[in-house]
């Protein structure tokens, strides 16, 4: 018997509170269910639980989303340019002005890309530390919505200057970054938020006490 898809199992054990669901899915897998079936069940369980938790705790969800965006905007405002231009300068010796005037953009794209995803990862980590997994998923969903809206907004208006504070947020969804951010940014938020959580499973009560629960 092969082991169940590891990423799917990792994802569900860190996001779904009810140990009964995780155990049932593993038992189903032992009975010979397909990988497709397993993935479908994992994703549906995560979506159903997130929907229920968000619906039951709207204020906490709003707080989680605001926390994430505040962290992102403050980080990018305070040290976005400093880090991105500093790294590009260290690597190439060019300043941003020289790079832009001579159309040598790639080092600046790369450092902007790096700064953006680092910011998304830090915000995901902070939201996960202060809220539940469902709130983290809600924040990740909000990043997808904002980036998708920015693709529509900036994509339909032609060359439009991006507001300075928002540059590192939306840059990953702009054409010169190949719009990778639409999928990668929410994924980075989720992975960065879930990786550091160490699980301490208590078989006696069936609950994972290491995770924050809405009800506690």
């Amino acid at each position: 018997m092969t082991s169940p898809p590891r990423i799917a199992t990792w994802l569900i054990t860190r996001t779904v509170i009810d140990e009964g669901i995780v155990g049932d899915l593993l038992e189903h897998w032992q009975r010979g269910r397909s990988r497709m079936w397993y993935w479908r069940q994992v994703l549906s369980a995560i979506i159903i639980q997130t929907h229920r938790e968000v619906h039951a705790h709207k204020a906490i969800t709003v707080r989680a989303i605001l926390t994430g965006w505040m962290v992102l905007l403050v980080l990018f405002r305070l040290c976005g340019d400093l880090v991105a231009n500093g790294l590009a300068h260290q690597a190439t010796g060019w300043t941003r002005e020289i790079g832009y005037s001579q159309w040598i953009w790639p080092p600046f794209w790369l450092t902007a890309w790096l700064v953006s995803y680092t910011g998304f990862a830090i915000s995901g980590r902070i939201v996960a530390r202060t809220h539940s997994a469902s709130a983290l998923l809600a924040y990740a969903a909000s990043t997808f919505v904002v980036l998708a809206a920015s693709v529509v907004f900036f994509g339909t208006r032609g060359p439009t200057p991006v507001p300075h504070t928002l540059f590192y947020v939306v840059s990953v969804a702009l054409p010169y970054q190949w719009r990778t951010g639409l999928i990668v940014a929410p994924a980075v938020v989720v992975v960065a938020g879930l990786i550091p959580q160490r699980r301490r499973f208590h078989p006696s009560c069936g609950h994972d006490r290491s995770r924050r629960n809405w009800r506690t």
Binding site: G20, I21, D24, Q30, Q41
Partner: protein, 148 residues
Amino acid sequence: MIASALGPDSRRSSSLVATPGASLSIAVRSIFAYIEQMRKRDYLGQFELMVLLAVIQVGEGAYGIPIADFIEKTTEREVAVGSIYAALERLEDKALVTSTLGDPTPERGGRAKKYFRATAKGVREAREAQRTLTRLWRALPEFEGGKA
């Protein structure tokens, strides 16, 4: 109607208000409380009823897998394990089922089984739902050519 639905406390608080702003605030809160109360008294949804009947049918040892198997066999459709647990959680909130944890087993990755059992209230609700649905079906005209 709203005051009677909310009980004596709401009537007492309504009689104490003096300013129009406060009475408006109480009226808004009363409406939301009434809506919430109506929502809580909601009838069993179709899927909730299916899950409740599955719990009753499976009897002792009803946990996620036998419940899912029963529903899949009866409906001939795949069901999401997550949706079964969501329905069970709602049923538990309404005190129609209770749950207990079993021992962790290796094939479940060390996770315990969560056993469900219908309460007396749950069995009553299921019977009531059956009676209501039967009455509704009887009220329908005969089906002819697949149309009512």
